[in-house]
């Protein structure tokens, strides 16, 4: 499976490494090439400097042939916009994005994006620990 990931932070790098280890073809984008230090040494995918909210950068990353796109930068709005470009302009079959703000996550879920809010999940896990 061909996967494009936007944002090479801790989550992006970890996800890229996991998918790469499973034999998938991964391209990871970040505006700051220094972020690619987080990728493991044996990473066989492509690391590309570029902005995932820019159509041309996405094309360079191979979005047109991608089976999946994941947006995990620090900015909720950037993730939302990139995910919608992937879904509505490039018709990528599987699109996921991280949205920290739980209210925005709910909204974009109703608009058909596969959104995940680590805030909600993290708080729930911590609550379970505290009360468990």
């Amino acid at each position: 499976m061909k996967v494009v990931i936007m944002g090479c932070g801790r989550v992006g790098a970890q996800l890229a490494a996991m998918l790469d280890a499973d034999g998938h073809k991964v391209t990871i984008l970040d505006v700051e090439p220094y972020s690619f230090r987080r990728l493991p040494n044996d990473f066989k995918g492509t690391a590309l400097g570029g902005d995932g909210t820019d159509e041309d950068s996405l094309k360079k990353a191979g979005i047109e042939e991608a089976d999946a796109f994941v947006a995990v930068t620090q900015g909720d709005n950037r993730n939302v916009m990139a995910a919608q470009i992937a879904k509505h302009i490039f018709n990528v079959p599987k699109v996921a994005c991280r949205i920290y703000d739980p209210l925005r996550e709910e909204l974009y879920r109703t608009l058909g994006l596969e959104a995940i809010s680590p805030t909600k999940i993290g708080a729930q896990l911590l609550k379970d620990v505290v009360l468990g």
């Binding site: 709005n77 209210l103 925005r104 909204l107 608009l111």
Partner: protein
């Protein structure tokens, strides 16, 4: 009308001033505290500190009764999200987004933003008009009709100079409406002779632009 402006930068500030002068009820949402103080000082209590992309902030300022939301921050993604949240959670009838990257125009339209204003494209067009060597300048795009009004300068060495309008190869769907030459502006007929250094105003289609420029300038 009740209008919410997201972003209190230069554009947000002057836009708010203009809307207030027209008698509208305006509220500005701005994240930066100092910018909020400045706007309050200049325009009175029309500003609320907060993130215009957050549903909670928008709920606090009564977005459900807003007639319009205009997002003019300098980040395209923030303008997109502010408009989408306003539209889908608060049913705001009209949303307007400023776009900095002209490539985003198509996406915003597709995602249901009612109006987009691309500041970059507008500035570029204005600069192009002022660059004297530019052979063809866009003056106006007519919304919906697929037609545009352009200005072309006929160079001294163009083959069109000295010829009649009816004798040059003007592409279909294009009309020369005005020639501004040495003796002033005139509405040309087929028999009007094209002058060197004259400026021509024409109606054309985007796809015929190159052919029109070639006919008049080469």
């Amino acid at each position: 009308m009740y209008i919410i402006v997201v972003g209190g930068g230069k554009i947000g500030f002057y836009l708010t001033t203009a809307l207030l002068n027209e008698g509208h009820e305006v509220l500005v949402l701005e994240k930066d505290a100092r910018r909020c103080d400045f706007i309050t000082e200049q325009l009175g209590s029309v500003v609320q500190r907060g993130d215009g992309c957050e549903a909670r902030t928008l709920a606090e300022v009564g977005t459900e009764r807003a007639n319009m939301l205009i997002a003019v921050t300098d980040e395209d993604e923030d303008n997109l999200v502010a408009c989408q949240v306003a539209k889908h959670m608060f049913k705001v009838p009209r949303t307007i987004a400023r776009i900095n990257n002209p490539k985003n125009e198509k996406l915003f339209k597709k995602l249901g933003i009612d109006v987009t204003v691309s500041s970059t494209s507008i500035i570029l067009e204005h600069i192009e008009e002022e660059v004297p060597t530019h052979p063809l300048v866009h003056l106006l795009t007519l919304t919906g009709g697929g037609l545009e009004i352009v200005e072309v300068k006929i160079p001294e060495n163009s083959r069109a100079v000295g010829k009649k309008v009816k004798d040059i190869a003007i592409p279909p769907d294009s009309v020369i409406c005005l020639m501004i030459g040495k003796s002033g502006a005139l509405v040309p007929t087929g028999d009007t002779i094209l002058e060197g250094n004259a400026r021509v105003i024409a109606v054309t289609r985007p796809e015929a632009e190159v052919a029109l420029r070639v006919a008049l300038t080469e």
